[in-house]
């Protein structure tokens, strides 16, 4: 590796200002607003300077430039939820060279981080969704999977996990289309769901990945008067999918609390900052992250058990 201009004169870098910064995919989105709640709580609890930042649109270049700027501020740690794993490697490497601790989330397989923390193992999570979807459809019928973006890593892992499970346990179910892209846009999800309903009148199930997918799908299903015959499940949060759980158009939503995930990242960063280490079984003292499991394949990835499944019965317990 040729000498990095940045590190040459890191001597002139400012004394660290003790900050912990969480860089999210994008600001102004319900999901990450919730994560910010966690970040702020954590700051309050620990009395440390923690804050959240993110680009206006969920783009790789946006995150790169923020992290690049942060390096100059030399915070203690940067925790990041990448839009594009590979796309962040270089800048994260620079951050670590500059002596900044880097923790990531939703980024299994990313290299230049100290620790990657997952709410759960992605494939298992996808499988869990398919378990429920299979039950709901009675293990038979056509179904379709939707992703926010075809370029979204975790989304593809979820649907892959789900698909594998379906192949293994619900041989009578058929995925009638390749995963469909909703462009993270509810209106698009709605229109594509409508097309599916027209093309496959006796479709039995939908799996959504982006938080708004299931909502768009649910609207289409509801309008088609098929709320009962079609099972709609996938990732979303109560504040977004709730009303359709009540109407019955959505059967079950799956998620993990972004606030807790935010806290978990920071907690790990702090442990590392204090010279500690993360191993199998580490307890972060955060619900769902009491006993971390090391993920196979990657040497820096750990998962909690923070996945939640919510249906009509328990939707009331969540206020986000």
């Amino acid at each position: 590796e040729p000498s990095d201009g940045a590190s040459d004169d890191s001597s002139s870098a400012p004394v660290e200002d003790g900050a912990y910064v969480t860089v999210v995919k994008a600001t102004g989105i319900g999901w990450f607003d919730r994560m910010e709640v966690g970040v702020d709580e954590w700051a309050a609890e620990t009395g440390l300077d923690a804050r959240q930042e993110g680009p206006a649109e969920a783009t790789n270049e946006g995150q790169v430039s923020i992290i690049q700027d942060l390096i100059a501020q030399k915070p203690v740690a940067i925790t990041v939820v990448p839009n594009d794993l590979a796309g962040l490697e270089s800048v994260l490497a620079q951050a670590r060279e500059a002596g900044i601790i880097v923790v990531s989330h939703e980024a299994v397989g990313i290299e230049n981080v100290d620790i990657d923390i997952e709410a759960f193992e992605n494939k298992a999570y996808g499988a869990q969704i398919m378990e429920n979807l299979g039950e709901c459809t009675g293990g038979t019928g056509q179904y379709v999977q939707m992703v926010g973006r075809l370029t979204n890593g975790s989304h593809s892992e979820w649907i892959q996990g789900a698909y594998d499970l379906q192949q293994a346990e619900f041989p009578d179910m058929v995925r009638v289309e390749d995963p469909i892209e909703s462009e993270e846009n509810e209106e698009v999800a709605y229109n594509k769901a409508k097309e599916i309903l027209a093309k496959y009148p006796d479709i039995a199930g939908f799996q959504g990945s982006a938080g708004t997918d299931v909502v768009g799908i649910a609207r289409a299903v509801e309008e088609a008067g098929k709320s009962d015959s079609v099972c709609v499940m996938g990732t979303s949060i109560p504040s977004v999918g709730g009303s359709y759980l009540e109407s019955g158009a959505i059967d079950k939503i799956f998620f993990w609390d972004p606030a807790l995930a935010g806290k978990a990242q920071l907690a790990i960063a702090r442990i590392l900052a204090d010279g500690g280490t993360i191993e199998e079984g580490t307890d972060l003292g955060i619900p769902g992250y009491e006993s971390l499991v090391k993920l196979a394949g990657a040497d820096n990835a750990f998962a909690g058990n923070a996945g939640v499944a919510v249906d009509l019965s328990n939707v009331a317990d969540y206020d986000f």
Binding site: G5, T59, T151
Partner: protein, 365 residues
């Protein structure tokens, strides 16, 4: 009321004298002066507020690393705007080039091994640039031969190129780039990042092309008044093709810069650059109706926005506050500028009725 208007117009008259005189002396588009000023002001502003962060060499270098790719894209768009057109596909083309290089390289690396691949580096990079030029040529054909309005043609190709990239990569971000390229992204000569030097070289070449070569001048004339340039024997086809191929080539260079900064390529990188680059080019003093543009102005604009962006992070302001600032700067600069040149403008508004768009009087878009 008439009185006030009279007085006002008199004052305006005097202001006008001063200005038009100045303008006649340096008829360089006024993008340069105002941008230089704005750059100094913003820089000073942040330097005073958060010196320890902002003036920190790391931060300054970051600006020098982040600005170039945007700068080169801006140059690409500037050329299109110079002809009175626009090129919305620059980012897609850049990604196309990046993906080409990355895939070819990784292919060799896996088949012939890393060393063989490394030795192929020059060819691989050329392939990337070639793809850039080729995609640019597609725009050129659609615009100059099929006769589609640039905004539509490039909006379409933007989607097509992006879509094809998606098909090619299957949506996953592909990793891997020639080591030589990667090292470029992280080396600095005398504290100046190599990428910044690349931008400067590209800018210089574009400046020469536009101002010092016959075809460059023709491109300008084409933008200033298409009818008159046809009547002067200037071939519309030649100028437009040159413009969009060059623009594609520059986009290709930007694509290589993407890779240099980070050895991975995806169909979706830089989607937020499309509008940003338009803002930069116009701030840089390019006339959206074509006919005039200054490379230096565009460079300054690119750097200025980068300064503001990292300044805002230094001040811990949000991305949306930056978006607001960007809008305010754009509108503010245009308005100030217009207040100064108002009277001249008013006058300029006497021209041939039949004049085609770029030549018509008061520009309203």
């Amino acid at each position: 009321m008439n009185g006030t208007r009279g007085a006002l117009s008199e004052m305006n008259g005097r202001v006008d004298n001063a200005f038009s005189a100045a303008i006649d002396r340096i008829h360089v588009a006024h993008g340069v002066g105002r941008m230089a000023l704005l750059l100094v002001v913003t820089f000073g502003f942040f330097a005073v507020l958060r010196p320890e962060i902002f003036l920190n060499s790391v931060n300054l270098q970051n600006i020098g690393i982040a600005a170039p790719e945007i700068g080169v894209l801006a140059l690409a768009l500037m050329l299109a705007m110079l002809t009175g057109g626009i090129d919305l596909s620059v980012v897609s083309i850049a990604n196309g080039a990046a993906i080409t290089v990355s895939s070819i390289y990784t292919h060799f690396a896996t088949t012939q091994g890393a060393d063989a691949a490394a030795s192929m580096t020059p060819l691989v990079l050329l392939a990337g640039l070639a793809v850039g030029a080729l995609l640019g040529a597609v725009n050129g054909v659609l615009i100059s031969m099929v006769g589609i309005t640039p905004i539509l043609a490039t909006l379409g190709t933007m989607q097509v190129f992006n879509g094809l990239a998606l098909v090619w990569t299957g949506g996953v971000t592909i990793s891997g780039a020639p080591a030589a390229l990667r090292s470029l992204g992280s080396t600095a000569v005398a504290g100046v990042p190599v990428l910044a030097l690349v931008l400067l070289v590209a800018a210089a070449l574009v400046a020469v092309l536009v101002n010092r070569t016959p075809i460059g001048r023709k491109v300008q004339l084409q933008g200033a008044n298409p009818v008159a340039s046809t009547y002067s024997g200037i071939s519309k086809r030649a100028t437009l093709m040159t413009t969009y191929v060059t623009s594609g080539l520059l986009a290709g260079v930007a694509g290589l810069m993407f890779l240099a900064r980070n050895p991975s390529a995806s169909a979706d990188y830089g989607s937020s650059y499309v509008l940003l680059v338009i803002v930069i080019v116009v701030l840089g003093g390019t006339n959206p109706n074509g006919g005039s543009a200054t490379v230096l102005g565009v460079l300054l604009a690119a750097v200025t926005l980068q300064v503001v962006s990292s300044g805002f992070t230094a001040l811990r302001l949000s991305a949306y506050e930056y978006a607001i600032a960007q809008g305010v700067i754009l509108v503010g600069v245009m308005v100030l500028d217009q207040v100064k040149f108002r009277r001249r403008r008013g006058r300029r508004a006497m021209s041939g009725t039949a004049a085609p768009e770029p030549a018509t009087s008061a520009p309203t878009h």
